[in-house]
């Protein structure tokens, strides 16, 4: 473990963006995660984003096999993983080639020169060696023969094969970056001790290489100074770094515990939602029943069955899976059972861009079913608040007896950020509509007068035997009814039930300005990008730009129109072709509304947003 730093000039920075890139097998995700965890523990605010190929083991050295991990750390509030990077660590030519455009001119690139062989250069489609042909002269390039130095470091450690030796070179890079940013290696050494408990030679090897990298950077004259980033001002409490998908899974676990119900997950593997299934299957100790079904349809239908039988039922999916679940979701809405559908949006249509992010399932979520079949639609907006909105989805579905679609997306689902841990004890109460005893006037479609939620009578309860189904039902008994007036009444009441939710959800608020020239509107996973762009403009004197971000989409918050009308112009920013803008136009007349859309499978960049907003207010 190394913590001391001596005799070096330090420059204080507010924030820095670092990207680690290499082959799929180079351990870049691990390197990035270690750096972000260490920084978070140091007290920095962080946001991370992994970026890896759809191919699991792409050919070594190829351009499309590059795996990357970006981390943004700061002493100030960090809300996105950032756009262009201050430091690029490239473990091979392909990584350099595919990521060079992201490096800010004049900033630093560390390369493993040992990997710049003729063969690798050809694979990366370089005609000449970029380290020699002058093409990198606008950057500060630090050339390190990392592979040889790693081998040299480990020459005396016994019990290691060649592969383990070369594979630990990522720790050399990490050690260097730790020194550069004044970080202790403590957390990572602890990590080795835990991870390689039964393989002491790997603990020794990795620790040695990590330290070697650290000392190498310290003595290297090519690195003139190191940087320091002070801890950020964050609310006091206990934190951990959490990925959006994990936060979603944990929010559901918390809701199950709070509500006293068992958690049932019916799911089918699909990118990028599968990590929620991976997380929930681990938690049998909490009584979680996670059922990997034969297809998306069985995923949701098994959840509907579990809900009928009294579990808190969940199904998780991504875009194409939601399409497959449509009919069954209509059934859940019709029989008015609690059900949470988590849709981790990805690039569409069809198979689209499975590993990339997009917000293009909004209209599918709102309308993608036959007949008049409204459901609650809410959206999480940061990796950490996936926890809160998953919890909220469960709470709403149990209290209002209608399915809830929770939208997240690939960007926040795979991204990670500090999460101030919330104890279940401090979470809001979750009521339910379970009836446990028969009384004379009991009917399955008796409703709560305020919420319009129907009774939830669970098999095993004597005297409450009843049948439900997809056919239209009588407004009281739930028996099949073809009576025309009854059908219209039921259509209206199922819709009214959603509308009534407006009395239970928070009002829409704005940040930076309550009225003014321009209201920037977003929803879901774009919060970080939009928030930081408006904040930046606000700090630069653009005080008439406000920002409103939606987490509740169906129904919209009650005061939406009133908030919107406080601004001369509105710009709705979405990673789709304008779906939420359509929803707003449909609901409210006379809005001076423009759109800013991006559909490239990528999040918004900071400068494209600020330029657009400036243009709109000037």
């Amino acid at each position: 473990m190394i913590t001391a730093k001596v005799n070096h000039q330090q420059e204080v920075l507010e924030a820095v963006i670092i990207r680690f890139v290499g082959d799929s097998g180079d351990g870049m995700q691990l390197t990035g995660t270690q750096f972000s965890d260490t920084s978070a523990m140091f007290g920095n605010d962080i946001a991370t984003f992994p970026n890896y190929p759809a191919e699991i083991r792409a050919p070594q050295g190829s351009l499309y096999g590059v795996s990357g991990f970006q981390v943004h750390i700061g002493s100030v509030e960090i809300s996105t993983p950032g756009d262009s990077v201050d430091l690029l660590v490239a473990m091979n030519p392909a990584g350099l080639k595919t990521n060079l455009q992201a490096v800010k001119p004049g900033h630093t690139i560390i390369v493993d020169t040992d990997s710049f062989t003729k063969k690798n250069l050809v694979k990366a489609q370089y005609e000449s060696n970029p380290l020699e042909d002058g093409s990198l002269e606008n950057y500060r390039v630090i050339e390190v023969s990392m592979t040889s130095l790693t081998k040299e470091t480990l020459k005396d450690v016994s019990g290691l094969d060649n592969k383990s030796i070369t594979r630990s070179k990522n720790m050399f890079a990490l050690g260097m970056v730790y020194w550069m940013y004044d970080r202790s290696t403590e957390h990572t050494v602890e990590f080795f001790n835990k991870k390689f408990k039964s393989k002491p030679e790997l603990i020794e090897a990795n620790t040695k290489v990590l330290n070697a990298g650290f000392y190498f950077a310290e003595t290297l004259e090519l690195i003139p100074n190191s940087y320091t980033i002070a801890p950020a001002k964050m609310l006091t409490g206990t934190y951990r770094i959490i990925m959006g998908n994990t936060a979603t899974a944990w929010g559901l676990l918390a809701a199950a515990e709070k509500s006293g119900l068992d958690l049932f997950l019916g799911s089918y593997p699909i990118t990028p939602a599968t990590d929620i299934l991976h997380e929930l299957v681990k938690h049998k100790h909490f009584g979680v029943k996670a059922f990997q079904a034969e297809d998306e349809i069985a995923g949701i239908t098994s959840a509907i069955g579990a809900s009928f039988a009294g579990d808190l039922a969940i199904t998780t999916t991504s875009g194409p899976g939601l399409a497959l679940k449509g009919e069954a979701l209509g059934l859940a809405m019709m029989i008015e059972l609690p059900l949470v559908v988590v849709n981790v949006q990805r690039g569409g249509p069809s198979t689209g861009l499975p590993t990339k992010t997009e917000q293009s399932d909004l209209l599918q979520s709102l309308y993608g079913r036959n007949g008049e079949s409204p459901v609650i639609v809410i959206a999480a907006s940061t990796p950490a608040n996936c926890f809160d909105y998953a919890y909220e989805a469960a709470k709403l579905t149990l209290e209002h007896m209608t399915p809830v679609i929770l939208l997240t997306d690939g960007y926040i689902a795979n991204g990670s950020a500090p999460w101030k841990i919330q104890s279940v004890d401090d979470m809001p109460e979750i009521k339910n509509n379970i009836v446990s005893e028969a009384n004379e006037n009991w009917h399955p479609y008796n409703r709560n007068e305020d919420t319009l939620a129907r009774n939830w009578a669970i098999p095993g309860t004597a005297g409450l035997e009843h049948r439900v189904g997809g056919l239209e039902k009588d407004r009281v008994s739930g028996n099949v009814s073809y009576v025309p007036e009854n059908h219209e009444y039921m259509i209206k009441i199922r819709s009214e039930k959603i509308k009534r939710l407006q009395n239970y959800i928070p009002k829409l608020t704005t940040e930076f300005a309550e009225s003014g020239d321009l209201l920037v509107i977003g929803w879901g996973g774009t919060y970080g990008s939009l928030h930081s762009a408006v904040k930046q403009l606000n700090e630069a004197g653009y005080s008439t730009i406000g920002f409103a971000h939606f987490n509740y989409i169906n129904p919209l918050p009650k005061n939406t129109e009133a908030v919107l009308k406080q601004f001369k112009k509105i710009v709705v920013c979405e990673l789709n072709n304008g779906q939420f803008a359509k929803v707003l136009k449909m609901n409210f007349d006379g809005l001076n509304l423009s759109q800013f859309n991006k559909v490239q499978g990528l999040p918004f960049g900071n400068s494209e947003l600020t330029e657009k907003f400036k243009q709109l207010v000037n």
Binding site: F264, I297, A298, S307, A309, A313, D425, R467, V468
Partner: protein
């Protein structure tokens, strides 16, 4: 084991107040009544019974039974029933389905529910036709069969439900004619007793769109000569005179007459429903003459719930987590002060 006192029920306790709306003369009435008579004899409480159906004529069934029920969507009853059972393994869960529902639109769920062996009972009403949509060929319709969607004759070869089911690892498969209520009642009770997924194929006549589809096997006049009702541990003998039986000839089953060519009862194959190997069961399922009815396969195996329960108990015993707080505050946490 906890002993529960189950009240004495009659078929009336399982009859709902809903008017039954099948066509006059439909075998579905027979099946419904057989079920209403079987349920009181199963030793299960009414509130613990759940019927789940898909879409089709047969799928109206749950409305007519006074228990818990879901009339769901086309082909998806096995998924819903699986969820019900996994959520509460104490329930007696029944899937009501038809040949179109189970073998066409729900084919994927049908094979997978059998493979998993969840303790469910599936009643497959096979009438070799789509009834509710008014007469199109189904996945069990015969080649050449003229229907509304095959006016010149069906060109799609059929599934044999039993063959498909056993191929999909069904542990329990039985078949019965739709006009034998007493035997049917008994079969339903056997299906409930079996731990695992039990599948019963009912050869059900559709008097409107496919009248007489099974008459050649099921009519009273020919039944005894054309059907072989197998029983575990008993020789496979049939015929009005109880003089016909099955023997293995090479790799094929052959019908022989006892008393002819030196054949005695001892030469006749004895039915072993509990055998794990499916070879003979598949041969029995495929026979056209005689049409084999009764419990053809009843192989005891662990259910999915049992496997899951064992795993859960093991995980719980070894876990340090009892509340979510234990998980949330474990591992790589840090304090901001």
């Amino acid at each position: 084991m906890e002993t529960t006192v189950v009240k004495e029920y009659t078929f009336k306790d399982f009859t709902s107040d809903q008017e039954v709306r099948w066509c006059p003369g439909c075998d579905d009435y027979v099946i419904l009544r057989a079920m209403q008579k079987a349920l009181p004899k199963m030793g299960v409480k009414r509130e613990d019974v759940v019927f789940v159906s898909g879409i089709g004529c047969s799928s109206r069934f749950p409305y007519y039974i006074d228990s818990y029920g879901i009339h769901s969507i086309h082909g998806r009853a096995p998924g819903i029933a699986s969820g019900v059972k996994l959520a509460n393994p104490n329930l007696s869960v029944w899937v009501i389905t038809g040949d179109g529902d189970a073998l066409a639109i729900g084919g994927n769920h049908f094979i997978h529910v059998l493979r998993r062996n969840i303790d469910l009972n599936i009643i497959l009403f096979n009438n070799e036709i789509y009834g509710l949509t008014k007469g199109q060929f189904s996945p069990t319709s015969l080649v050449g069969q003229k229907t509304k969607s095959s006016p010149y004759g069906n060109t799609q070869p059929p599934f044999s439900p039993g063959e498909l089911a056993i191929g999909a690892q069904a542990r329990f498969f039985a078949r019965i004619g739709g006009n034998t209520p007493k035997e049917m009642t008994q079969l339903f009770i056997e299906a409930e007793k079996f731990k695992g997924t039990s599948l019963i194929e009912i050869l059900q006549n559709c008097p409107i769109f496919n009248d007489g589809c099974f008459t050649q096997y099921t009519s009273k006049a020919v039944r005894e000569d054309k059907q072989l009702n197998v029983e575990h541990g008993k020789p496979m003998i049939f015929g009005k005179e109880q003089d016909k039986g099955l023997v293995l000839n090479g790799l094929k089953l052959e019908v022989v007459t006892i008393g002819e060519n030196g054949i005695t009862e001892n030469d006749i194959l004895v039915h072993d429903a509990k055998e794990q190997d499916t070879t003979l069961h598949q041969m029995l399922v495929r026979l056209q003459y005689p049409m084999v009815t009764g419990i053809i396969r009843s192989f005891d195996d662990a259910t999915l719930e049992e496997r899951e329960d064992a795993l859960t108990a093991e995980v719980k015993a070894n876990s340090k987590f009892t509340k979510t707080d234990d998980l949330f505050f474990s591992g790589g946490t840090y304090k901001v002060e």
